[in-house]
Symmetry: C2
Subunit: 291 residues, 2 copies
Amino acid sequence: MKNKPLFQQMTIVGVGLIGGSVARSLKKHHQCATIVGYSRNEKELKKALALGVIDSYSTDIKRAVQGSELILLSTPVGAYKAILDELKDNLSENTVITDVGSSKQSVINAAKAVFGYLPPTFVPGHPIAGTEKSGVDASIDNLFAQRCIILTPLPETNREAIDKVRAMWQAIGAEVVEMSPEHHDHVLAATSHLPHVLAFSLVNTLAQMNEHNEIFRFAAGGFRDFTRIASSDPTMWRDICIENKEAILELMQIYEKQLKVLEAAIQTGDADKILSLFSHARDARDEHVIQ
Amino acid sequence: MKNKPLFQQMTIVGVGLIGGSVARSLKKHHQCATIVGYSRNEKELKKALALGVIDSYSTDIKRAVQGSELILLSTPVGAYKAILDELKDNLSENTVITDVGSSKQSVINAAKAVFGYLPPTFVPGHPIAGTEKSGVDASIDNLFAQRCIILTPLPETNREAIDKVRAMWQAIGAEVVEMSPEHHDHVLAATSHLPHVLAFSLVNTLAQMNEHNEIFRFAAGGFRDFTRIASSDPTMWRDICIENKEAILELMQIYEKQLKVLEAAIQTGDADKILSLFSHARDARDEHVIQ
């Protein structure tokens, strides 16, 4: 039984892991009749077309968005401002825009810088999903199943626009929650941005050591898991560090203090303190993190 | 075709994840006719017996080692000295001893403190394998398949004893390498001890935050992987931090410096520097770490 799709046409700006996975998921669920790709990188678009992820593409933004009910921005956040600049005069009033950027205040600021305000049809969003891989080759049709999507609309955001974006994510199996952009940035700095920053730094620490080939050889499964996120897209993570700078720096400082507490306990051989720190961490993780 | 087993009888001291997995693996490969368990915790031994991991047990060390060709120490390293003290007068000259401790210089020092020297039949070892789980319930019969085992014998260690321990690990599918205890401790501080210390500290940082319930809710797959090792046994990791203190502290300081470099780049908005740090980390991981 095929119901009427949610959208007749939508445009995906930046068809990589996330954009490609949204497209594949919508296709699987028959929720969008035509998916148009846009990028400055035609090679990426050709590949997405060949893979059947998109139905057509254009490297001309005006053509790419013509007739689309929904535009999804899924490039690294650092590229948003330039894209919105190009979009500005090619946007019909009813077209809903949403995005998948990992920092939300900066996205809203970029939109404000271009439009003078956050357009009421722009619904900032962020899917809490992804892998360490990147590119359309890595896109899959169930990346958002049972995953959480955070929307951060402002009071002036159009309710119908929010509901449309919400419906899109729900149609591909995700759960949608709303919170303020400030709160989003604070929470994600802790659960995602800080861990990435720590993992990149750990790999760099080891790569610096003289015997680094040998060192990586003796890395067990725990190390592979721990550093998997250090294989993530460097450009995307550079942009996140720039865009969510304040929250990330605050967390890094809290983390460094925490590390110093442990370091002091190791230094003085305070076995009870070390055990209490480790036990506390294990209990917190086992209580809160679903395996 | 059943060949003659390598060992007629061995004793496993501490039948948890590692000791239990050695026992299960040897049984699977028919390499030990009788496996005797020893522990101060009789409940653990009863469970291991019920699970078929060991064939018999004793809480009397003299009985537990009588007639065994090989004794495997697989308790947390902090307990070794007390165990060796008890073993000292109950050891026949030909009995080979090995262990699975994550720090090797401290194990050798513990043996020297008890015996006055490292007995030539004591072959210090460390399997680079494990999971974040602990206890005999978590033991499996293929934990060491294709994994690396590091032996750190001294020049005075008996070659036959080394070969016996080597044969045991190879019989259950592992690859054995030898290196000095100092080098082992340095390498493992980097690939295993530092990541654990960082993961425990990350979870504690997040657990401190007011909204910690919510924060853990929005943790994606990368976070789960990254913090998995924070579910490891706190007692075991306390002992490792005490026993390999110098190498761990040195690595923590190098790591903190690395983190400060990134922090400064984020602070000043140095996009090129951030990108270069992240790219370098991704390349190093992708080059060296087998997925």
